[in-house]
């Protein structure tokens, strides 16, 4: 059984990897727009919301997810 905390760690990890990936797209020069494109902004926004949700889940401890 997965706990809220474990789920929280998973959500935070996936979100952080996602955000880093979205930023890396720009660093590597991919994408159609110079600078941050609208999809990247949306992706990072959603990633931050997911990080916040993950942090709350971590605080919920060993309750079953």
């Amino acid at each position: 059984m997965v706990t809220k905390r474990q789920l929280g760690y998973f959500v935070v990890a996936v979100s952080v990897i996602g955000i880093v990936g979205i930023i890396a797209v720009d660093v590597l020069g991919a994408g159609r727009w110079g600078g941050f494109g609208p999809l990247q902004r949306m992706g990072i926004g959603l990633g931050l919301v997911a990080v916040a949700a993950g942090l709350v889940l971590i605080r919920l401890g060993d309750r079953p997810a």
């Binding site: 997965v2 999809l39 709350v56």
Partner: protein, 556 residues
Amino acid sequence: MTIRLPRVLKGTAALLAVLAVLVYLGYFVIYISYAVELFRWPFDYDQGEGFELYDAILYRQGLWPYRDNASFPFYASNYPPLFHLLMVPLLPIFGPRLIAGRLLSFGATLVTAGAIFVVVRRNVTKQRGDWMGMWFIPLVSGLAFLASNYVYQIGPLCRMHMTLVMFETLAIAFIAEFEHRKHGTRNLLVGLVMLFCAGYTKQTAVFTVAAAISYVFLRDTKKAVLAGGGLALAAGAVFWLINTATGGEWWLNIIEANVNEFDYRRTLFLFRQWFSLHTLFILLGAGYFIYELFWDRLSAYSLWFFFALGVGALSGKWGAGFGYFNTAVAAACLTSGLALGKLKEIDWEPRFDLWRSSVGRGGVRAVIAAIIPLLYLLQAPRMLHLPTAGPVWAPLSRTLGVDDQLAYGSGESLAPTHCAPVSYYDAMGYTQLGHPLSADDYEAGERIMAYVDAAEGPIFSEEAMFSILADKPVVTNPTQLLNLYNNGLLDTTEIVDHVDQQAFDLVIFRAQFYPPPVLEAIGQNYQPVDQVCMNGFTYHLLWARDRLANAPEPPR
């Protein structure tokens, strides 16, 4: 005599509930009326229908529809086989006609609505005599699915979308009960079979697979690994077998051809539209997901709702559209029912002490009972869609004030892509589906068929039904050719050669979806002989220049 407030509220709740059921039953009647219209219509209503029927015809002949697009008849399917295989037993009954697939798809929507009813009813209440939990919320949740503009429009088409949603709903319903004391293993196995069926109906089922396996993982990691591994093995083995049997054409047509250009603005537009049409169900579904995420355990249904948003995110792909939201609509209708059930079950009395003293004992619960049908009633007009002609619909649409807001517009405001207005209003605005057919449409179909019958040998048509009705082989699947061409996977040499040699007497265009070199070759070798307005679209009929004398005279 004093009337107690809870009593008044209970009466109000009952009245509102009856009204809500009547409104959603009204939508159901509109849905049946549209479905019956389509069952009678022999031609393509949506451009892909005839091709899906043709896949079933090929299976019946023991042939694969995953073929080399570069050689005659330049035809291949881009969908998995299950929907078409399910159609095969219906072909001896109905013949090679669209009604086989339309009935199948329509039936799938009814099964899905029924499954939503059963799941909500099973989860919402355990109390006998609770009419709202036992009947009202489950019934409206199921009917709401059929009342969705998206489900209404696609439901009775010979397309695989709704069969996919049926398998997905059944899969989630069974897997949600995988910990059942007596039938847990059976439920898990049946759920996995349904997931397999969903995946082999349409590729987008992958999101429901992810939801179902995630749910099992949260509760029983070992079972999730076994279930996920088993499903991957079975699906992978069949995938490999079909790919081998078709010499790699399966991979090319199912996977590579579906990697299309993506427009995120279209996705955002469709998300906004989906939200604006289904606001209540989405808000309740999202609220239920958040509630379970932080305050309770995540259910299979909430996870399904969440993952279904992923399918919607793909809707900006070329060739995709609002049909990608049908899974999310089913999940939203189901979880909104569960959310309202939860809302109703909570003991509100201690939380509203002051209020309780003013409305009396049981008053808070009675207020909630009145609010639930009221919410359904407020949601109903957001999805408004109905025909605007006929003895019943014309006065009704006039009364509702939408008789002049037609889906294609009319008069000066007629959409430029259409040749005639349709008698149909839809709250989603412009849409190519959902309208009834007119006597003129039937006449136009016959006029096109006169050209098809006069043509010798196969014809080059953007819609398959003209060929199927004339008992000719289907040549080309234009959108598939364009998908492959855009991905650099199509050699058009042989197609262009055929066109240059004027190997077909007749070419029929509706949207000119063929790859540019093919369109160019047609322009050089074929002469427009007629254009026919059918189903709101202009069909361009072109005849081989060298045999123009054989072309039928266009009727005056």
